[in-house]
């Protein structure tokens, strides 16, 4: 090692200290939305062991208001799943065969529902017109009560830069589209039933640019 190399090595041993936390948080404020455009997904230990646990355990990054919104929609979603199952069970079955033959569960085709049931008194809790919750339970072969609170997970997929647009204010802005997959898991411990619903979602961000 010559003299210069030794000098370089000595200089490299001096390590500049990191910026203060206060400065970093100041930077975060200054970045605003631009700071959240590129995100890094970091799977934790548990998720590596069991991928399905990902859907069970809500991400810590989910904001509380969003969680509330999802919870509010959860009942509606579950009802929609029931409706789809009910519809499929009645429409996919080949003629002359009942769904019972196909899936080996006590389900009756729509055509077999007695007329008296179809004109039954409206059940305000039922998601389907003309069917009470009890009837729905019979028809769909799925339990109505005993479901755990739905587990919500937001999965970041990718981000696409769509270039520079003129903001309504007249200033140039970068339009960035973020894609997420929202996952909702309903589970019924008694029957060990789980329903996972995935909904794609996209968010568009306008990042105002400085004219430099």
């Amino acid at each position: 090692m010559n003299e210069f190399e030794k000098l370089e090595a000595e200089l490299k041993e001096l390590v500049p200290g990191p910026p203060s936390d206060e400065f970093t948080s100041r930077l975060e404020n200054a970045l605003g939305d631009a700071g959240n455009v590129a995100m890094r997904c970091m799977p934790n230990q548990e998720e590596r062991k069991d991928d399905f646990a990902q859907a069970r355990q809500p991400s810590s990054s989910i904001r509380f208001p969003r969680l509330l919104a999802f919870s509010g929609l959860a009942g509606l979603g579950l009802a929609a799943v029931w409706a789809v199952i009910f519809y499929l069970s009645s429409s996919i079955a080949p003629e002359g065969k009942t769904v019972k033959n196909l899936v080996d569960i006590p389900v009756i085709a729509q055509s077999n529902i007695p007329d008296s049931l179809l004109v039954a008194k409206e059940d305000p809790d039922s998601p389907l017109h003309g069917l009470s919750l009890d009837q729905l339970e019979d028809v769909s072969a799925m339990p109505v009560s005993g479901w755990s609170d739905p587990q919500i997970n937001e999965r970041f997929i990718r981000v696409v830069d769509e270039g520079i647009f003129e903001h309504p204010s007249g200033l140039p802005a970068r339009r960035v589209r973020q894609y997420f997959m929202d996952e909702t898991l309903w589970s019924h411990p008694a029957s060990d039933t789980r329903i996972l619903s995935t909904t794609p979602r996209e968010e568009v961000l306008f990042i105002e640019l400085d004219t430099y």
Binding site: R26, A34, Q54
Partner: protein, 173 residues
């Protein structure tokens, strides 16, 4: 799945080096953070969506902003009124260096280098940029940058013993 903005890990990796360069460029410790903030935000808004930004872009932005700011009358006035203050470079390094005479002398020697050589040393040693990247950051030719670095090391070789001697003389007086 947990998500975190990429800029945080990026800044944790490059923040210290960038702040050091900002200190060297701004010459005033209180201005360095503003300079770095302005440069980083501008660059990240333009390129941050890609998830990876070349540090050279931020170094370049710091330098250009420092030149712009130096041109403004208020800031120039402030620079002219600058009183002898603690060395901006020394501010960037660990305080435990105070116990290491040799390292302190090294830093003081770097401080005494001409500005053009000092910025090359900072970008090369602590910024870990190649000569090519330094040349682009400083808008200079590759040969000029490499020469400045070589001259800087030659100067440091002479300045460090001087600084060590000076310290000893100061102590004996």
């Amino acid at each position: 799945m947990k998500t975190e903005p990429i800029w945080k890990s990026w800044f944790a990796r490059h923040g210290a080096k960038l702040l050091l360069f900002a200190r060297q460029q701004s010459r005033r410790p209180d201005e360095a953070e503003d300079l770095l903030q302005e440069a980083f935000v501008r660059i990240w808004r333009l390129y941050g969506h890609t998830g990876e930004v070349a540090p050279g872009l931020v170094y370049r932005a710091i330098r250009r902003l420092a030149i712009d700011w130096a041109r403004s009358i208020d800031r120039r006035q402030a620079r002219e009124n600058r009183v002898a203050m603690e060395s901006p470079l020394a501010l960037s390094f660990d305080r435990t260096l105070e116990q290491d005479e040799r390292k302190q002398a090294l830093l003081r020697a770097v401080e005494r280098l001409p500005d053009q050589q000092k910025e090359v040393v900072i970008l090369k040693i602590w910024g870990e940029l190649t000569f090519d990247e330094i040349a682009r950051t400083l808008d200079e030719s590759l040969n000029t940058v490499a020469s400045r670095y070589r001259y800087a090391l030659q100067k440091l070789r002479n300045l460090v013993p001087e600084e060590m001697e000076g310290k000893k003389e100061g102590l004996t007086q």
